[in-house]
C-alpha cells in the first residue's frame, strides 16, 4: 500500500483530503480521512489499477485460523454484493481484516468519491454491530 500520512496526522476534512489525493501527480499516494468525526479510512491511489482504494481497518480475529469467522465474512460479502458496496477483505501481510472499496480513477468525480467514503462509513457502522462479538473493531 502507498505511504502517506500517518493515522495521527488526520487534519483535513473529507473533501479537502480527496481533492488533494485526486490531484496528486504521483502514481501512489495516500491519506487518512476521518468520517463522521470518528471513523478513519485510508484513501489511497493506486496508479496501476488505476484505482482509488478506500480501506477501513476493522481489527484482527482473536484467534488465528478462525474458519468460521472467515466464512462469515465471505457470506457477508455475498449478501451485500452490490455496485459500489464495500466488502470485507483480509490483508495477507498482517492478517488484518478490512472493509474496502475501490473506484476506477479515470473520470472519477469528487462527489462520487465522497459518496463512496460515506457509504463505507455507513457500512462500517452496520458491520460493527454484526461483528461486535467476533473481533475487535476500530481499535
Amino acid at each position: 500500500m502507498a505511504r502517506g500520512l500517518s493515522r495521527k496526522e488526520i487534519c483535513m476534512d473529507t473533501v479537502t483530503c480527496l481533492q488533494t489525493l485526486l490531484a496528486s501527480p504521483h502514481t501512489q499516494a495516500s491519506t487518512w480521512v476521518r468520517l463522521q468525526g470518528r471513523i478513519d479510512v485510508l484513501a489511497s491511489i493506486d496508479g496501476c489499477g488505476p484505482l482509488l482504494r478506500l480501506v477501513l481497518p476493522v481489527g484482527r480475529p482473536r484467534c488465528s485460523h478462525d474458519l468460521q469467522l472467515a466464512s462469515d465474512l465471505l457470506r457477508w460479502n455475498a449478501e451485500h454484493l452490490d455496485a459500489g458496496s464495500p466488502c470485507f477483505s483480509l490483508d495477507e501481510r498482517d492478517g488484518a481484516i478490512c472493509l474496502g472499496a475501490a473506484l476506477s480513477l479515470p473520470g472519477l468525480a469528487l462527489e462520487t468519491a465522497a459518496a463512496a467514503l460515506e457509504r463505507l462509513a455507513t457500512t462500517a457502522v452496520e458491520a460493527r454491530v454484526w461483528l461486535a462479538e467476533a473481533i475487535l473493531f476500530f481499535d
Binding site: 484505482l51 484467534c63 465474512l73 465471505l74 457470506r75 454484493l81 455496485a83 466488502c87 495477507e92 492478517g95
Partner: protein, 139 residues
C-alpha cells in the same frame, strides 16, 4: 445506449456469439476457456457477472483466507470480489450498473473480471498443495 445496441456492440467487440442470448435474464458464456454467467438484474438496472470458484467442501481455512486476501489485493466493488453464496459455493462476482454504461465500459469490465478470475484460478492451482497460510495475529 439501449440493451440491443449494447448487445450488438459487445458481440462485435468481444466476438462472443453466446451474448446473443442477452438480454435474457441469464446467459452463460465461455471467455478464454472460463465459464462466466451474466445475470440481468432488471429492477436494479444492473448486470451481475459471476463465476464459480473451486474450493474444498467443506470450506477449508486456506481457501477462505485466500479469497478474503484476494479481495484486498484485487479491489473490492466495483471490481470483482470473492464471496460465498447461501448455498456454500465460492464465487467471484461483480455487479455493474447498466446506466450509465457504455458498451466499451462493459467490455472493459468483462475483461477485468476474466483477468481477475484467471489470476484467482491460477493461484488456487498453485497453492493447492501449499501448507502455508496467511498469519492472523492473536489479540
Amino acid at each position: 445506449m439501449t440493451y440491443e445496441e449494447l448487445l450488438r456492440h459487445l458481440g462485435a467487440s468481444l466476438g462472443l456469439a453466446a451474448l446473443a442470448a442477452w438480454p435474457a435474464d441469464e446467459c452463460e458464456l465461455t471467455i478464454d476457456g472460463m465459464a462466466v454467467r451474466l445475470r440481468h438484474l432488471r429492477e436494479a438496472r444492473q448486470v451481475e457477472i459471476e463465476a464459480q470458484l473451486p474450493h474444498a467442501s467443506p470450506l477449508a481455512w486456506d481457501d477462505a483466507a485466500a479469497m478474503l486476501a484476494d479481495n484486498f489485493i484485487g479491489a473490492s466493488a466495483p471490481d470483482a470480489i470473492c464471496n460465498i453464496g447461501p448455498d456454500g459455493a465460492a464465487r467471484m462476482s461483480m455487479r455493474q450498473c447498466l446506466e450509465p454504461l457504455s458498451g466499451e465500459d462493459f467490455a472493459d469490465s468483462l475483461a477485468r473480471f476474466v483477468a481477475r478470475l484467471e489470476r484467482r484460478l491460477r493461484l488456487s492451482a498453485t497453492n493447492a498443495n501449499a501448507t502455508a497460510s496467511p498469519q492472523w495475529h492473536a489479540v
